[in-house]
Amino acid sequence: MAILKFAPEALSNLFKPPVTTAYPAKPAEYPERSRGHIEIEIDDCISCGLCARACPCGTISVDRSAGTWTIDRYDCIACGFCVVKCPKKCLTMVPGYQTPGGKKSSVTYQKSPEVMAAEAKKREEAAAKAAAAKAAAAKE
């Protein structure tokens, strides 16, 4: 039976630098695919709410009339299912973890006034079109 089989290995480790990163003195590096947190390109969002319905944790809420998209980052498990489900591809998963905090809080993204105005105009046009079609149908 052999004794001290590990001694050479253990001794050589005394002279090697540590394998761990000296965080936070040195910044942590994440690979490109790292599932850190969700980012949204809010002006591309059509407020369809599919992401909110897909999320297994009920993290996202969407308000169409106010043009907002809200996420509670402390509830998010970074599964990426909302990214898969979004029809406009305006959600992306990017590196960088949520920093810890003492209290839960959510982040709200607001669409820009221009986009809101354009959307409102589109809605009005659509409503006018529908009304015209209805009137035409009533005439016939």
């Binding site: 004794i3 590990f6 253990a10 994440y30 695919r33 897909a54 599964c79």
Partner: protein, 360 residues
């Protein structure tokens, strides 16, 4: 006959990675009987099917356990694929195989570390975990998560591996193989290690069969059960034989798991060599599931069983996971009979208990 007394062991105990409680009936220093009680970390994941739809359940099931997370996600997806009766693309099968073997490697390396910690060899423990870190880096590089993969979806996988990724994996496999050889000597030959493992916790083959033990625990007693041989994912296209030992003791369990890391390295190399180049990674499924199915997988700790029953609604009617540790607890209590009290901690570790899985 000496005086009998009962020692409560766990749920909080320095040697236990997860909470399990055993009542040890001892006579002098010998354990006569071990009575387990579990239920400290039940989270009710199975009953979540009432609240989450079948797609969302993929992510819930995956979080059953942090170590065998990939297998759980894959087991659930395979079950749903059977209900939908779809065949996933070949490349997705190979990708699942590679990821599954990576997760087996990191699980076994974690276990080797815990074993070393169990017999008080801190230095060896750190070396095992240092090697494991390389596997975790590969997982993070390819899926974005260190332990939770989130790449499985019903009908295939969500992410592909580029050829650079595969080159890095192959290179890392070579490095890990080299480093394993250095620690292998210590596990297999060192006097202190052998004196703690050899002939301790004998579990005869008949008992394994009688109690239905699974995984490396069973293979270390000469029962060649390996669910990978059932042929899910790309395993039918890969050449491998279950690692078996006839020694039946703790040393054999260490041997089987260490050799399985080499086997995983080999499987990953074969899979990368044979992987077809397709662009399709998902076979889309339509509508809601209807019917029932079950799947058996070889998790790092042994055979896991997944069952799902659907009735044409988004929410499943029933979902069930039976994990390997659940099958092995009966074997653990049998094995603990007539052992020294001081060996109990180490022996619990040798079945590689994963209590979070067991209690779901």
């Amino acid at each position: 006959m000496g005086k009998r007394s009962v020692i409560p062991y766990g749920p909080q105990h320095p040697v236990l990675p997860e909470p399990i409680h055993l009542d040890l009936v001892i006579e002098d220093e010998r354990v006569m009987e071990a009575i387990p009680s579990i239920g400290f970390i039940h989270r009710g994941l199975e009953s979540l099917v009432e609240k989450r739809d079948f797609n969302q359940m993929t992510y819930v099931v995956e979080r059953t356990c942090g170590i065998c997370s990939f297998g759980h996600g894959m087991g659930y997806c395979e079950t749903m694929e059977r209900i939908f009766d779809v065949e996933i693309p070949d490349r997705a099968k190979f990708l699942r195989t590679i990821w599954f073997e990576l997760s087996r490697m990191h699980s076994h390396l974690l276990w080797l570390g815990l074993l070393a910690d169990g017999f008080g060899f801190e230095n060896l423990f750190y070396q095992c975990w240092r090697i494991r870190e390389k596997v975790l880096d590969l997982q993070e590089m390819t899926c974005g998560g260190r332990v939770i993969f989130s790449v499985n979806t019903i009908g295939g996988v969500l992410k592909d591996m580029t050829s650079e990724h595969m080159q890095i994996i192959l290179k890392t496999m070579d490095e890990i193989e080299q480093e394993l050889k250095t620690i292998q000597k210590t596990f297999f030959e060192d006097y202190t290690v052998l004196s703690r493992l050899k002939g301790v916790g004998i579990m005869p083959k008949e008992k394994i069969n009688e109690l239905g033990c699974v995984g490396p625990f069973a293979r270390a007693s000469g029962v060649a059960v390996d669910m990978r041989k059932l042929g899910y994912a790309a395993y039918p296209m890969i050449d491998f034989e279950p690692v078996v030992s006839e020694d039946c003791d703790s040393y054999a369990r260490c041997y089987v798991r260490l050799m399985e890391i080499y086997q995983s390295i080999d499987i990953i190399r074969q899979a990368i060599a044979k992987i077809p180049s397709e662009t399709d990674l998902v076979t889309p499924v339509k509508g809601n599931p209807n019917g029932e199915a079950f799947v058996r997988l070889e998790q790092p700790r042994g055979e896991a069983f997944y069952y799902a029953k659907a009735s044409g609604k988004p929410n499943l009617e029933r979902m069930r996971v039976r994990t390997p540790t659940f099958a092995n607890i009966a074997g653990l209590c049998e094995m603990l009979k007539n052992t020294e009290l001081s060996d109990v901690g180490l022996l619990i570790i040798t079945i590689d208990p994963c209590i979070s899985c067991t209690e779901r």
